[in-house]
């Protein structure tokens, strides 16, 4: 009896959460795929017709936005790695007693609503705002110079909102490195660049990978930054999906686009996680 109870215990513990994930993650994904193959409209209802044409239309009409999203996500991710690595390195190896203070400061923006932060940046970057206006007055920038509405502004927003998600996993990976390993490398006459390249970098890579995962996916699927800081020439696929769902109620098209976005991202993510193991990535994410 006791043994039966014990073997049943994990299933009972997992049951409510597992059901939630099944009902509200797996089933909705299936509903989305099914909706993408349906035809009809909001008033008369949708019928499943196996209409593949929606996918063809989605690619012909919104190829540009889809590719643009992936490109912006990629550029933002590269900038994030370059920006975050030195900072994470310095905090991990030279932060001393203040390490947790630095980490706390990096997380500070998360105590402010994400939408509000992004709007705050629009306020700062606007043509006659507190940042650009003085520079224009001083003649350092031409009067016609503007940031808002350009691809740079959108990528800037993506980098800003993702930075902690890149710094933290890299920091965690670097922090785990035993200082004695570095000493050993030095004792074997490795010069600092060699120590970095042969010891630090390989050990930091899982952190970088976790960071890439946590920044590239949300950045590519973003629609807040591109809407608040961008213009019609910087439209990303997220904006299209949002508009097709919520403004046009073109559910089949919106579903087809979301499914394609998810397929592109998740195929990459899973290939990546298979190569590296999911545990590290999840632990880094939950910190």
């Amino acid at each position: 009896m006791n043994r039966v109870k014990r073997t049943l215990a994990p299933y009972l513990l997992v049951l409510p959460g597992g059901l939630w994930l099944l009902l509200f993650f797996i089933v909705p994904m299936a509903a989305m795929v099914s909706l993408s193959l349906q035809q009809g409209d909001v008033i008369n209802g949708y019928r499943f017709t196996g209409h593949w044409q929606t996918y063809v239309d989605a690619i012909t009409d919104y190829r540009v936005q889809l590719i643009r999203s992936l490109v912006y996500g990629l550029i933002a991710t590269i900038i994030l790695i370059v920006m975050s690595f030195p900072m994470a390195y310095w905090i991990a190896f030279h932060g001393g007693k203040r390490k947790s203070t630095y980490l706390f400061l990096i997380l500070l923006p998360f105590f402010v609503s994400f939408v509000l932060r992004t709007i705050s940046w629009r306020q700062l970057l606007t043509d006659d705002g507190v940042l650009l206006h003085p520079l224009k007055e001083a003649g350092l920038l031409s009067p016609g110079f503007h940031i808002l509405g350009t691809p740079s502004a959108v990528i800037f927003g993506l980098v800003y909102n993702s930075l902690p998600f890149m710094v933290l996993p890299i920091y965690v990976a670097l922090e785990r490195i035993d200082p004695r390993v570095l000493e050993a490398a030095r004792d074997l006459y490795a010069k600092p660049p060699t120590v970095f390249r042969k010891v630090v970098l390989p050990l930091a890579l899982p952190g970088v990978f976790a960071g890439v995962l946590m920044t590239f996916v949300p950045a590519s699927a973003d629609y807040v930054n591109s809407q608040v800081l961008g213009s019609s020439s910087t439209t990303m696929i997220g904006q299209v999906i949002q508009a097709q769902y919520l403004a046009n109620s073109n559910y089949p098209m919106a579903s087809a686009l979301s499914f394609m976005l998810m397929a592109v991202l998740l195929v990459g993510v899973f290939a990546y996680a298979r190569a590296l193991g999911t545990e590290d990535v999840m632990n880094a994410a939950a910190r």
Binding site: G17, P86, V224, L246
Partner: protein, 283 residues
């Protein structure tokens, strides 16, 4: 002996000094770099706090026009804004408690037992974490549309619990894995049954992890915009209100509420950090 540690012995090899100076300069550059990025990260927060004290003449709270406390006095003057904040709080409490309960179940099971299907469950949790919020919101909307069910506070809770489960269970699992099993064995040796052992011994040990999981879920819920925007129907949460209000001009009360939420969050974080530090000193 103390003097020798304070002043380097005269025989110290000469080449050490310049090398050291170079290293200090490098560290100085890094120090400045790190602080510049931190400054960049908090700049919008300064703007938010500052413009809560602004006295704008028109509808748009964009340029500095004078100092005032009146928005702090009238912080609840805009009914829609207050009810949006209230709705956000209610949804965050409800969904973080649900996610805390069912996420702890998963986290405990994964950390403690080896069972059939745990690999698939891990994969599923990872998928919910790795799939973009946009797709999560879109697929939930697809489900609700297909079911022809209404949208509102309850559908928002469904979505928020969904994206919080994986975070709660990851935090709890990490704690359960590092649990010292000999404490439970000791309890069993002293005649406690499995039920008593769990509630009197195991649960108090994992409680801090459960608590931080719930707090994480609360924070994720109260700030969520993307998923909420898809499945809210006519319900308006705090982030949705801000989003809607930007077109017509954001009232300064938004900045005040943002500042108050920020201050509360920072206070909670600092206090809990100090407490855990004091506790670790005690141990």
């Amino acid at each position: 002996m103390t003097t020798s540690t304070l002043t380097p012995p005269a025989t110290a090899p000469a080449p050490v000094r310049p090398r050291r100076r170079v290293r200090i300069t490098g560290a100085g550059v890094m120090f400045t770099y790190t602080w510049l990025i931190i400054l960049w990260l908090v700049l919008p927060i300064f703007v938010m706090i500052l413009f809560g004290f602004n006295d704008p003449k028109g509808r748009f709270n964009q340029t500095w026009q004078g100092f005032t406390f009146k928005w702090y006095k009238d912080v609840f003057a805009i009914h829609e804004l207050t009810s949006a904040l209230w709705l956000s709080l209610v949804i965050a409490v409800v969904s973080s408690l649900i996610a805390g309960a069912i996420g702890t179940g998963i986290g405990y099971a994964l950390g403690r037992y080896q069972f059939r299907g745990s690999g698939g469950l891990n994969l599923l949790l990872f998928a919910t974490m790795a799939s973009p919020e946009l797709v999560m919101g879109a697929s939930l909307l697809s489900l609700f549309v297909s079911l022809n069910s209404g949208l509102g506070a309850s559908t928002i809770v469904i979505g928020h619990v969904l994206f919080s489960i994986s975070f709660v269970s990851t935090v709890v699992r990490a704690r359960v894995i590092t649990l010292d099993r000999s404490i439970e064995e000791a309890a069993a040796d002293l005649g406690a049954n499995a039920w008593t052992t769990f509630w009197k011994v195991t649960f108090p040990i994992i409680l801090p992890a459960v608590f931080s999981g719930v707090l994480l879920a609360f924070a994720l819920s109260i700030d969520d915009f993307v998923v909420t925007n898809f499945i809210s129907g006519n319900a308006t949460t705090f982030p949705l209100y801000i989003w809607g209000a930007t077109r017509v001009g954001l009232p300064p009360q938004v900045n005040v509420m943002g500042t108050l939420i920020f201050a509360t969050g920072v206070l909670i974080a600092v206090v809990s950090n100090l407490r855990s530090r004091a506790k670790s000193k005690q141990d």
